[in-house]
Symmetry: C2
Subunit: 449 residues, 2 copies
Amino acid sequence: MTTPEQYIENNRSRFLDELFTLLRQPSISTRNEGVQECAELLSGMMKQVGIETRIMETARHPVVYGEILKEGAPTVLVYGHYDVQPPEPFEAWHSPPFEPTIRDGRIYCRGSSDNKSQLFSYVKAVEAFRETVGEVPVSIKFLYEGEEEIGSPNLAPFIKEHGNLLKADLAFFSDSHIHESGRPLLILGLKGMVYVDLKVQCAADDTHSMRATAIPNPAWRLVWALSTLKDKDSRILIPGFYDDVRELTDLEKQAVAEIPCDEEELRRYFGVKEFLPGRSSKAFYFNLVSEPTCNIAGFNAGFTGEGSKTVLPARAAAKMDIRLVPDQKPEDILDKLRRHLNARGFNDIEVISHHFLEPSRTPIDHPAVAIIKDSLRDVYGLEPIVFPNIGGSGPNYVFTKILGVPCFVVPHAGHDQANHAPNESMILEGYYRGIQTAVKTFEKLAAQP
Amino acid sequence: MTTPEQYIENNRSRFLDELFTLLRQPSISTRNEGVQECAELLSGMMKQVGIETRIMETARHPVVYGEILKEGAPTVLVYGHYDVQPPEPFEAWHSPPFEPTIRDGRIYCRGSSDNKSQLFSYVKAVEAFRETVGEVPVSIKFLYEGEEEIGSPNLAPFIKEHGNLLKADLAFFSDSHIHESGRPLLILGLKGMVYVDLKVQCAADDTHSMRATAIPNPAWRLVWALSTLKDKDSRILIPGFYDDVRELTDLEKQAVAEIPCDEEELRRYFGVKEFLPGRSSKAFYFNLVSEPTCNIAGFNAGFTGEGSKTVLPARAAAKMDIRLVPDQKPEDILDKLRRHLNARGFNDIEVISHHFLEPSRTPIDHPAVAIIKDSLRDVYGLEPIVFPNIGGSGPNYVFTKILGVPCFVVPHAGHDQANHAPNESMILEGYYRGIQTAVKTFEKLAAQP
């Protein structure tokens, strides 16, 4: 009899064609481009392998929900997101952003790693079980949302509303990437986030810059305001910002210390001469895991084209993502930012919050940790690395805090996936390893006493 | 016999049609759009009224040079520029930027006030003399360049090279605007300028902002660097920046004190709630005349579109125009900026200087001041206001310092011309007043003992 593992090997080519179909469909949530079409496409593909699937509406982009149940078996909730980041800047792509192209063992496409290949692996795992042993050994509930790249505004309400439907023993979160050494990862948490636009307007219109002796310049206002938020040593200066930061436990610190770090390779890969002060070597991962951030994601004012234009801008705007660690609270951080700006005389700067995500960390001593590590070790032939949390953000907290289940992130994309950037790519083998890992993990979970 | 003054009145409609032809021709020097075509068009129009005209090449955009000489009469050099600023942002224009449109007594068009109507007035004054009294009472040399909006990089070399050709007794500079009260202006100087791009790059490419714990962000670098250049009281913090600032003389101070200032009207017009600290009322003009500036004309980094994108930018850039007063020297100020950035640890910030302009101030006690004031008083029926210098910059110094002649700026555009901004406009009557003022001034100069 063919095993699920053999079935996957026998169907590599067709599995890839099906993934490419999903990748060709743009699904840019921030400007609602192709999102509904992608939900319908994915739903059809899930039905085709026997998953009872439906498209469930939210206030903005729909959830693709699916079920395949087995009486008496543990229930796994699988989370993923079928939406993608905008592909801009177009000119930086070496192949069209929505035409999957294989080069050097990678699939280049927007959404290839983040998150379509990774969520689709679980769908193909179901097929592998059903076409060989006839049934999946665990109950699986699929929750594939279309709003992750805009901060999952409707995921928490959806989970609150459908708490019974989504009841599960543990959750798998299909996102993020493996270690740059090629070793597999198990991730137990994600950072939270406050994303804000800072806006300031001083005059009705742009004007000739000769009036700079009298008319306030919003770019200067923003420069001065931002310069009070963080110092050159990366210390965030908002009063009380660090108050609720929870220290890592000894077990967590030990896990972080075991993360290999090739500093030179990292610097080479990112094209960075020097990391921030105190962030080299082991500190790279210690800070990535334990430290909140305050990042300028964008800044815009006045004339930014080629050549010179002597203009006094009327408006300036910055975009910032502030990533949080347990137990920081998004609302509290936003409030502290606003109060800080007011206290420093920047009442004129408007703060518009796009979205909030709470940070999350599943306990490192949960029994599923060993099962997942075993499965990854089998598939990769390498010792897995465990992150108490990674640097990225995601709606992990909706499982750990709202649904109350432990949440495990098991990624298969490369560390250099360039997600959120031009030339995003997925390791071709990572797609198949994802399917194999799902199969093995579900087998082991079902076999648990 | 028809006087030149009457001739102008009799030919208003045709004079306007001819100006519109000139305005319809784009001539955006910063990106070389239509510049050569505009030079040829203008040259043809000058020849048509009997000015011996030729297009003289420079390293970039040509000079349109013309002569009409009268033996034994004083020689006037008329300077103007036929190039214009870029029209962006297009969507802010109420009529197409290169289609002259009359609304409420104004000609709306890019280049209408800055500087095509104003330079063209002198051409039409020649026609008015020749078609009535038969000859122009003074010798006129026309120097119309195509690079003013990019800082006139080739004007100084051109004047140095053609010193004999350009020999004159005094220079008229056709640019700038009248006072917001409607009273005419005589301007005796312009500010200098250093225009720079500040650029910084920290990584090879944009990356996911989760890496903000280790990878330096060029937007932060630029924010920190800029925040060291100027404080919230508009004091420029570059060491030695103010060293060479020459105080106004008592006569100059008196002229500035006589400039009327309706602060409320100014604030209303610009849509500004408050001017910078200490810049209201009389201080508005005192600072406009006497104070150098350090303006952020543009700032760009990362993602600045709609929605949210969590990116750590690889590059950030700012554009700054620094306006100088006598006796500041552009090279010296650039050098001080560079040294300041280095001293504050910002060696990573590249400073690229686009162009330099020296400041200039013609002595307020020169005899031509009275002649021009008389002419303006005749044409406007209002008492002229005298500015020792205005807030704007221009290559005035090439006349006062290189050619060694006094230089007089006699503007006819409105104070609300919105030059360098969307919906630039010229006062329709200002165009005709320009022609009349030129006629009267030349008559009076010729009649001087």
